[in-house]
Symmetry: C2
Subunit: 434 residues, 2 copies
């Protein structure tokens, strides 16, 4: 089997005005869809981060890919991954995911790996999860992922979307948002994006969620490094009960040192709430110092920037070996990424928490997979009985996404600029803020 | 694709009277050959440890395998691997490889995984290395593996083999053995099995090898835990020059604690010779304490007992992450195991030393792969342009191996019993001996 064509499509999708410590989501999220077509006319697809830089990095691979054997491409490209194992702090503390130049090579590699696996699977009639070691589960659980948000469903002008969830800038409104999300998707755990309002308000939000949902629904809170070590410890103490039983405290303070300090102090107080991270720890190079300092007890991996599905499986075994939990980070995405997450999760024995997904924040009208949105039922994505990733491209929908991209000025993700544009002209991301 | 039949063949092959700290190799080494046949009539093969216990463990899987999809078998069986992550010391300090009941499940799993990969590869026309991530190299380097030995080529009675290498119980004889092995196979590094004669004689053996082969040929020495920490440090000091430049000191003292103590004292003397291990560290459960104590700088993995090819790849990434070197352990084996080692090595980027192989000690007359022995040229096995493992079974040769097994009394490996039977009726394995 040989690659005949490699196509890269920049698309934009409406994204609601979600808030985090990074700032504000723009009206559009940017994604890149790729196609790898074999000489037999079968096409493997994948989805990754969007905007100019990822597209350019992918297009630069075209010459190497044409004529190559999809079974061998990952081996051929592997030496180019150039993981940095010297030192650490290749982190997302100061950069939103997808905008970190230090993981550009692993992001590019990952995008191509998954497209190869989809092409191989579609060519031989095998689901991707069974190509990479075999499924250990058929259903992959995801969490509700509530955000504080402004009113609006995303998009601009004629492309403005209905505001399904409304404004949510108080504990009560956030609880309402979560209940709606659970009613629609059946999620059985909640990952709450914090770092936006005063910590006292965010503590109250978790307490209200706990009261309303009961102790059977694991709660997680993620302020994306917005807090000092002291504040992190205070929150951990205030929410010791609410974050127990499958919950975690995610990236409260900045950096591996900050996380290690929070962990140490909470343990001294007898509070064993695990600290999770997709900010302090984003590459294999971060792991030795994390392990040596017990800085992170749950790694939130992401095949998109860790270097693909097989690297995630390596990471999972490493985490299992060091008794570190594993879950999955997400970014605004469509159904191809959701299915890729589900496939690698299905073939990864050591997955100890329901995965994150932004999928509820995206909309049917922007979906590029044939047949519309991937169903999430009882909080789970089920691996379909179809080859490859189990989804194919709707070329008309893809064209709409490309047109949307052409018509907007956004070419990279910049949540700080959006915050200044729409909310507060003087806003700056300050770490720690509280 | 579904499995129609699963066949397990116990065979015996002549093995010369090689010595190690475990004792003496029996006149026959035991191996198990398995066949997984699909409904399409294609057969995947593999080779693993031999004797009654491995055969029984494999046969016990038959019911689960018949009717299963080879793409899904590894996922289906994964929960049964039951790695022990609680505590450590699942080691081969006191047991020869293949006779450790604690890794029976991973050995059984590995045997089936590789047979599935061979079957898949042969069914879709793809080499195994390209099914598991894609080759990063086409040629896999192996080391010369000299042993002190008694006269005799192995086998018994009419099955007695010509003694190709002769007795080697002195430094000079061992140098001669190595030179012959290098002349035949082109090896470019040497792994010397020690722990047999007085350490002063073994030091002298390495010194003679160094003088005769020159500093361009990396030298490694492996006494299989035969030494005290003091003796290990003395040997490390005496051979600081000879083991530098790609050499290592393998399992000098018993256990992770012993290894860590040797490492610490050598470093204090300014000697940075890496310590390698396939005895103190034989499972993922051993790794955290190894890392925490800097006990091992080179892991000698073995897909046969680490749980298969993908587990070896996980291990390699873990080793890379913690800046630990990786090479490969071997046991007496035929061409199927050699090809499996070559395939996983080809698809494992982080492989930092030439691999071990006992293959020169086995003979053409016992080989079960069609076309005879797998060629080793310039010290390397080249991945052939053939699907699966690239080798198939010679059924006549297999039958001869089974007949040999039926005709001999050996049903497990017991080097201590052999030592008593042939060399010294009162011999016991004593750790440490020196």
């Amino acid at each position: 089997m040989k690659i005949k064509d490699f196509r890269v499509h920049a698309i934009a999708i409406a994204d609601p005005p979600l808030r985090s410590s990074y700032g504000l989501h723009a009206p559009y999220a940017l994604r890149t869809i790729i196609e790898l077509e074999s000489e037999d006319g079968i096409t493997g697809i994948n989805e990754t981060y969007g905007g100019e830089a990822p597209v350019a990095a992918l297009l630069a691979m075209k010459e190497q890919l044409i004529g190559a054997d999809p079974f061998r491409i990952t081996g051929m490209l592997n030496p180019e991954m150039k993981y940095s194992h010297d030192g650490y702090d290749r982190s997302q503390t100061f950069k939103v995911p997808g905008e970190n130049p230090l993981d550009e090579t692993t992001r590019t590699f990952a995008a191509i790996e998954v497209a190869c696996l989809d092409l191989i699977g579609k060519s031989i009639g095998v689901p991707v999860c069974d190509l990479i070691g075999g499924r250990v589960r058929d259903k992959v659980a995801f969490s509700a992922y509530p955000f504080y948000k402004h009113a609006g469903g995303g998009g601009e002008g004629a492309d403005t979307r209905e505001d399904e969830y409304g404004e949510a800038l108080s504990p009560g409104a956030l609880v309402k948002q979560v209940k709606k999300m659970i009613a629609v998707y059946g999620f059985e755990s909640v990952k709450f994006k914090a770092g936006v309002l005063d910590p006292a308000v965010e503590i109250e939000t978790i307490k209200q969620l706990y009261r309303e949902l009961g102790p059977g629904v694991p709660l997680r809170i993620d302020p994306n490094s917005a807090w000092t070590v002291d504040t992190s410890v205070e929150v951990g103490k205030a929410l010791a009960v609410e974050l127990s039983g499958g919950g975690y405290l995610e990236d409260p303070a900045a950096g591996i040192d900050g996380m290690a300090a929070v962990r140490k102090r909470l343990l001294e107080m007898g509070i064993d709430t695990p600290l999770a991270s997709n900010v302090a720890i984003t590459s294999f190079g971060d792991i030795p110092v994390c392990v040596a300092n017990d800085a992170v007890q749950v790694i939130l991996c992401d095949h998109h920037y860790w270097g693909g599905m097989r690297q995630v499986q390596h990471l999972a075994k490493l985490a299992e070996t060091f008794k570190i939990g594993l879950s999955m980070h997400s970014n605004s995405h469509l159904g191809i990424s959701l299915m890729a997450m589900a496939h690698v999760a299905a073939a990864t024995p050591h997955l100890t928490y329901a995965c994150d997904t932004h999928y509820p924040w995206q909309q049917e009208k922007d979906e590029v997979v044939e047949g519309g949105r991937v169903p999430i039922k009882d909080g789970c994505v089920t691996i379909p009985d179809k080859p490859g990733l189990g989804v194919s491209l709707d070329l008309d929908q893809l064209e709409r996404g490309k047109e949307r991209y052409r018509n907007i000025p956004y070419r990279k993700r910049d949540d700080e600029a959006e915050m200044r544009r729409h909310i507060d002209p003087g806003w700056k991301r300050i770490l720690p803020r509280w």
